[in-house]
Symmetry: C2
């Protein structure tokens, strides 16, 4: 695969919007290489979300560490005849040499809070916009959705079954990672399990049952290979499927080690209750019930509220695409250049100027309110943006093992005010204030710009 | 990047659900390697969609051609201690040796119509489920959304600006491909432009303007590098921005070659009208107006209906995630094994048994109705499933250059009954019938299964 070595589209420096490159040529021609500060934030919470759980930092830092143009990519850019020779020569030595400040993955965040801050020569900070947004957006969408499902499951297991419906291979991998980070116990995706060292889970599909003469033959054959399996019981008639599992237990005796049945269609409450009764009556109390089939946090919560005896949930589509909120309006915006705060005034798309910090007050393990401030202020509470990369090299804080991230994400969920943890839209949003100094700078710069233009 | 050569998670044989591998071990132990037929279809049109435009076949065929387990991947599977030695040895020689029948990319399809059919030894047809679904799903979601936007734009340009909000890098690349296929004129994503040889488009972001002392300086500097550019005019005050473009034209005289302005916020109808008036009054009739900012097919149609003088639209988020319908309920199901039709009865998730074909009647270039039939029937109309791969090798029909696909997709859109082309939900759906033979087989098999279970 020679092609791949010289141009891997998934991690290429060409994974960028064309305008980043045209701007870079102009910056180069103008000698505009002073330090810039860009911040990543969203302006509005997505619908049906009381918070966003931020994720994806690991992939961003890895990308920045390895970012460079290959000879092959430069030759292709040259062929396009759009860029100057002088500019393309500068790309040969292009590396990311800047600093990155970020909130740790798993942090819960709100409107206008910078979750990532890049301080680098203007062209470097500019080029990376597309990839940084793409990765933080995807994983934050997925982690947030998964966190809601974990809350709804109230201690039962959540497993990512979404790879077939996620938007492409990268999404499948990253949804597996982000949902594990947010509290899911594993994924069905084997490549993701290997890449991120997270548990791979799953047993059989309907096709396995269908390919056999009947369900009984299929169950017996499968348990001979995998005794401690989960048997899928709804291919033909769910309760008859459960009866087949019970018959199998009788025939196998002590050799019966099946751990669970899976329900994948029909009225899950009714079928789970009836299956539990059948299993218990047959002395199979230890056989668990696992459910899937178009589940989301609301159906999970409703099933458990109704007392459904379900021990785990496989979630597919609704997790994979975050169906009720597939996007968050993350932007990556210039807030300072060459030491001067910058903003824009575009209607309803303004920017808070200058490099910022977010201070969060926590009392008795519970979040009480955030203040968005100028970076050099010292206010009460924890400063959420921390250095993770300096001069293009990751700091220790930039390496966080996924299990540590998962632990931290769990404490973040629990630190949310109880009403924000609910699945329903919150009535009173989390309290976010702007510091007096930030307000003064914003007003002054707005005044200056309006007078100038 | 040694890691990448031995395990590329984006195209690995491990990009599969764990249950495919456990089923494969059971099939192997049982000697179940007879030919199976799997079909890919959806049960219901997504909300707000009168048709689905299928896409992604190219990536599926390329995957099947190269599918194999690397030593490194096998070693990892071995480490998991979940699989038998005997089974892992069989994976060493695993290749896809089957046949694939498919509808050409760009075909418009409806409920229950198989869009892809795999005829292969059961384990081969089984393993590929996750990747096949993942790729066809993503690109069909994107092509369908893009086709609606192309319809709405009624001849004006549509450009994919979605990479920053698409779900990951693979989605960014494939959304660019699928939207070009569906009629967009290009993408902002440089890696996608290179990978698929499609036009890359874009000029400048707000950060470029902000980084300069003022808009005038920025416009002048940028046009010196790229005279035939598009200038972004809404950073501070849109109409003042337009006035700066006019002033620039006066100063540059014949050297002024700016092709367009871009509006990215505010009331686009009002601003486009006012901008057009200002430009025309200054003799700049040839400067076009390009708009972006949260656009979808409905806002595009409304702008044009109101007479907005907009020549092209950049669409981001709503295209990237297909916000109003981010998923299609595609399934990949076993319909025959070892020459026998197969089905399942799971409530509301049944399967039409047996290998099938779709016959489409077209009259005067317009689609009149489809019949879903048994594969060996000969009915009136065009048989939509055509062979594209035989014994694991692509046939000529399996290689279609993207521009040919784009052309075909255009004729498909135009062949749709006019009411199905509309953006509103259709009142009378497209006519789909089941052949008498298919109905008889279904009834018979259902009867047999219900009696047996």
């Amino acid at each position: 695969m020679i092609e791949h070595k010289s141009f891997d589209p998934y991690s290429s420096a060409l994974f960028t919007d064309l305008y980043e490159l045209t701007m870079l040529q102009a910056y180069d021609a103008e000698g505009m290489t002073a330090p810039a500060v860009f911040e990543l934030f969203f302006r509005r919470l997505p619908p049906h979300r009381n918070y966003v759980m931020v994720a994806g930092l690991e992939q961003v830092l890895s990308y920045l560490e390895h970012l460079q143009f290959t000879d092959d990519e430069l030759a292709w850019l040259h062929q396009r005849q759009q860029f100057s020779e002088a500019f393309l020569r500068t790309l040969k030595d292009f590396r990311f040499t800047g600093d990155v400040y970020a909130m740790p993955e798993g942090t819960v965040v709100f409107e206008n809070e910078p979750v990532l801050q890049v301080v680098a020569p203007l062209p470097e900070a500019q080029l990376i916009e597309t990839y940084v947004l793409n990765q933080i957006h995807l994983q934050s969408v997925a982690a947030t959705k998964a966190a809601r499902m974990v809350t709804a499951a109230a201690g039962r297991d959540i497993v990512d079954f979404g790879s077939r419906r996620s938007h492409g291979t990268d999404a499948a991998l990253k949804v597996a990672r982000a949902s594990y980070l947010a509290g899911a116990i594993g994924t069905s995706n084997v490549a993701a399990a290997r890449l991120y060292n997270i548990p791979a889970l799953g047993t059989m599909a309907h096709s396995y049952i269908q390919a056999h003469a009947d369900e009984r033959t299929a169950f017996l054959a499968f348990t001979q290979e995998f005794p401690e399996t989960t048997l899928l019981v709804d291919t033909y008639n769910t309760l008859k499927g459960v009866q087949e599992v019970i018959d199998l237990a009788r025939r196998l005796g002590h050799a019966f080690k099946v751990r669970a049945i899976r329900l994948d269609s029909g009225d899950l409450l009714e079928l789970a209750n009836a299956s539990r009764q059948l299993l218990d009556a047959a002395g199979l109390q230890e056989v668990k019930i696992f459910a899937s089939s178009g589940l989301d946090e609301h159906t999970i919560a409703a099933l458990l509220k109704a007392g459904a005896p379900i021990d785990g949930f496989g979630v597919g589509t609704n997790l994979a695409v975050s169906a009720d909120a597939p996007e968050i309006d993350f932007s990556y915006k210039l807030v300072a250049y060459d030491g001067q705060p910058r903003m824009k005034l575009s209607s309803s798309k303004g920017i808070l100027p200058g490099r910022k910090q977010v201070f969060r007050r926590v009392s008795s393990g519970q979040m009480c309110g955030d203040v968005i401030a100028q970076f050099d202020e010292s206010l009460e509470g924890e400063a959420l943006l921390q250095p993770v990369m300096r001069h293009g090299t990751r700091l220790a804080a930039g390496y966080v093992p996924l299990d540590k991230v998962r632990e931290y994400a769990g404490t973040q969920r629990e630190a949310l005010p109880p009403e924000l943890q609910r699945l329903e839209d919150v009535k009173v949003p989390y309290h976010i204030a702007f510091s007096a100094a930030l307000q003064a700078t914003t007003a002054q710069l707005q005044h200056d710009l309006e007078r100038a233009t």
